[in-house]
Structure formats: structure tokens, C-alpha cells
Symmetry: C2
Subunit: 282 residues, 2 copies
């Protein structure tokens, strides 16, 4: 595995590789890899000649009161994990390399951002779309892999690729969960022991909602209330949101139909967890 830290070297390397006709699978991450990331890498490994992993904690997608400074980082551990998954290139640039001066241009996301996590994180998805635009130009991938855990991010990236006509195929990979159902996350380490015990309830509330829907419930509000009730009564977490929207458009629904997402965010003492279920009914 080759570790590359400069944009120039990465572009030169990938330019040469692409000329040989090799396909390139790209997994952009902020590091502190967990099994969710490894699942993305495994998918990329299976479907492409070359696999590129990037690790970059992107400052411009964090708000002023968010956890940029304390976001967990462990490069040596990440490097070993990437090597174990037969990653070919690990792109690991510094903040100065990615943002050498004030940006003279940025990507601004106009839709799909005013709901779910986007509502309380103004500018977050502009930062995501901007760094992904940069990374796509640096890595020039055939396919890019994102986890469905950040379902709103997947919806935004889908719009970015479509509207900017990126010659890149988006691959959205299923959420990887702990045995007890908790979605894997770099931030799970911040749960207090008691909270860690309660946290699987989030996924349980989603699967309970799924059962209700499969039994014929079509009213979004009824589903949302059932999920909220479970979380409030059985965890110490504070609900940030429990919402249902069409997917990937993220438009409100009067009644459940077509493809839609049930998504939630719950705050615990030192960490806010998200989870979701994407369903499709006739």
C-alpha cells in the first residue's frame, strides 16, 4: 500500500493508472476506521482493479460548535487496517494541502439539506460537497463508496454527481451493525456504559416501525410517534429528530408510498447518534 500526502502526486499516479484502463474504487473517509468503513473497502476491492482510501478530517464540514478538534484520529491504526484490506493507495493530505488559502469557489447544495441533520448543521453539506468535488478530481475514481448510515449525505452526493455530471458511479453500501443492532460509528466510543446498553434501542425502534408498516400502517405521524415513544421511554437520550421523507428527494410525505426513509438522531451525554431505514412499498 502506498501512502500519498500530496495532491500532485496522487493526481499523477491516478492519471497513469487510469490510462492503463484500470477501474478505481474510492472510499473517502475521515479516518478512525470501523467495520462500516471496512465494508466499503471490501465492496470497492471486489468491484475494482484498484482501491483508493482517503483519510481527511474535513474542517469545512464542521460547524463552529461541532467536534472538529476532538474528532477521533488514529492514523497508525487506520493505516494497518487499510493494509489489512489490501488498499492500494491511502491518500492522507494535511489541511494545508487541501486548503492552502481561502477558497475562491465552493460547492453549494441547494436541495435535500433543510431536513434531518442538515437542518441543524447549516453549511455542513456545502463542506461535504466541496471536499468530495476536490477528492473526485484528485483520485479520479470509477466508483465511489458511501455508507447508507449517512443517508442524507448519500442523497446529496447523488445530486452532486448527477448535477455536476461527474463521470463517477455512486455505490451506497448497507449499514454495518454491532451484534446488538447498534450502527457502527467512529463516535460510539464516546457513549457512557449505560448509554451503550440503551443505544441498540434506536435500531430496535426502526425495526418495530418497519413491522408496523408491513402490517399496513401508512400514516407517517403514527410511525414517527411510535418510534419517539420507544426512545423516550427506554433510553436516557434526547431526540433530535425522528422523521420520514421520500428518498432520495427528502420531500415530506402525506402517506407512506414508494421509496422513503425513516431516520432518527438522538443525543446522549457526549455523542449524537444517527440511524435510518430505507424502505419501499407499493
Amino acid at each position: 500500500m502506498k501512502v500519498i500526502t500530496t495532491i500532485k502526486e496522487m493526481q499523477a499516479e491516478m492519471g497513469l493508472q487510469r490510462q492503463t484502463g484500470k477501474t478505481v474504487g474510492f472510499v473517502p473517509t475521515m479516518g478512525y476506521l470501523h467495520e462500516g468503513h471496512l465494508s466499503l473497502i471490501k465492496h470497492a476491492r471486489k468491484e475494482n482493479d484498484l482501491v483508493v482510501l482517503s483519510i481527511f478530517v474535513n474542517p469545512i464540514q464542521f460547524g463552529p460548535n461541532e467536534d472538529y478538534a476532538t474528532y477521533p484520529r488514529d492514523f497508525e491504526r487506520d493505516r494497518a487496517l487499510a493494509e489489512g484490506e489490501n488498499v492500494d493507495y491511502l491518500f492522507y493530505p494535511s489541511v494545508e494541502e487541501m486548503y492552502p488559502h481561502n477558497l475562491s469557489v465552493k460547492a453549494v447544495v441547494l436541495e435535500r439539506t433543510s431536513v434531518l441533520c442538515g437542518r441543524s448543521r447549516p453549511g455542513h453539506f456545502d463542506g461535504v460537497a466541496t471536499v468530495i468535488t476536490k477528492l473526485f478530481h484528485i483520485v479520479m475514481p470509477t466508483r465511489a463508496y458511501f455508507g447508507k448510515k449517512d443517508a442524507q449525505q448519500v442523497a446529496v452526493i447523488e445530486g452532486l454527481i448527477a448535477d455536476f455530471n461527474f463521470p463517477v458511479e455512486l455505490v451506497a453500501v448497507d449499514i454495518v451493525r454491532e451484534e446488538d443492532g447498534l450502527a457502527k460509528s467512529s463516535r460510539n466510543v464516546r457513549l457512557l456504559p449505560e448509554e451503550r446498553q440503551q443505544a441498540p434501542l434506536l435500531y430496535k425502534s426502526l425495526t418495530t416501525a418497519k413491522s408496523l408498516i408491513e402490517q399496513g400502517e401508512k400514516d407517517p405521524a403514527t410511525i414517527v410517534n411510535a418510534v419517539k415513544e420507544m426512545i423516550i421511554s427506554r433510553t436516557n437520550g434526547t431526540i433530535d429528530y425522528v422523521e420520514i421523507y421520500s428518498y432520495p428527494e427528502l420531500e415530506p410525505l402525506e402517506t407512506l408510498t414508494g421509496r422513503f426513509i425513516l431516520a432518527l438522531a438522538v443525543k446522549f451525554s457526549h455523542v449524537r447518534l444517527i440511524d435510518n431505514l430505507i424502505m419501499e412499498i407499493d
Copy 2:
């Protein structure tokens, strides 16, 4: 020469061509080709294996009171001219092809836009940066050719390529002029006969300013006033701006030094003309 109207076909074609290691020179235009455009094509032809010309009058870079509807168009003439210059691919998409629905993301230009033409055209350069981003992804060029006549556009594209890390080389080509000095423009046809006679004075005022600077004048205001005086006294045009800035940063200068641009815009009855001179002194 192959005329292509769909994004999908253009991307497929260029993807194949790039895999053979061929270099691609790209000339994005809004059509109604004149010798300025042909000069860009000739440069592209000389420096690349393949030449791609695009013709697309981009609606999102026109303001509500601008001349999108009446912008001159003549595809058959353009096609013949392109063929005459041995263009390999002419990309000629419809508005529906480029903008099938509301954009969910756009490029927003944060610097270099509050002066010169950008001041009176809010959003213009966002529209330019967005369409160029799309076109770069569709054509995947090695080099992209722009005329120095739109010097602010060149400065913005330079920022776009640098900050989004496009793997594209920007080539800025000198202004092509009529024998009497008037900069070639698709809009020159709209000058009244009398105005056409006066119009070369714009360039004359720039070269006069250049002489003053070469003789040692270092005060931007003195230069600007000399240019304004010539235009006011010897044409019926109305000055939109005559300004001097560092180039390509487009920052104000206290005294002339380094690389800078003297740029002007003058309104005639049915058309607004621009011209500029980029100079460098110690």
C-alpha cells in the same frame, strides 16, 4: 467532425479516447464564432491530439435583464467554421440536456467577482463556474482554452481549477482584434455604424495608457482618468467602468506594481463592449 448532443455519448466517447492516452484540447463557447474563438481552436489544435468545441448558450449565467433570449445564434455557420478548423468533436447540448431539472448543487464563486463585470452581474460567475464544472466533467479535457478578453472570467476559472483541483490545464489566449484594434466579439454586430467607427477608440485608450505607464506613471487614478477622458470626449458610449486591479487576484492597487489589469466596459446603444490590457512592471 462528430456532432454530439447528449452528455452520455460525449462522456462515453471521451472516456474511450482518454484511455488511449490522447490529449484533449477543449474550447467552451456560446457559439456565434468569431476569429477570437477560432484563435482558441487553432491553439487547441496545435497543442493536443484531439479538439473538442462546445456550443452552449448557458442560461444560468445571464441575469433576468440580460440578453439570453437575443444572444446571437447560428449553428450551421458555427458548424462549418468548426469543421474548417478540423475540430474533432462539437458538443452541442440543449438546455434540457444540461439542466433537466432544478440544480440541487451549484458552484459559487467567493472571490474575484465583486469588481469589473462581476459587480453589475450578480450570480453571473456562479453560472459560469457551474457550467464549466459540468463541461469539464463531460469533456474531461487535458487543456481548456479561454480568451483573455474575458479577463475576469479567466481569473475566476483559474481559481475554480485550483480550488476544485481539476486535472485540467488552463490556457489563456491573447485577444484577437480587428485591423482597427476593436476586440472581436459576437456582440460587435449590434454596434450602429457610427458607433462601430468610434469603438476602436476603446483599445486606443488602453494603448495610450500603456504608453503613460511605460513613461513612468504609477498612479492608478491618473491612468483611469486619462482613459475615461479619451472615451468620453471621443465616443458616444457611456462608461460602465474603467478600473485597475492586481491580476489575477483582482485586488485594488495603491500604486502600479507587479502584474495588473486595466479593464473597461462601455455601453453603446444596443451593446456593451469590454476590453482590457494585462501588464507587468517591476
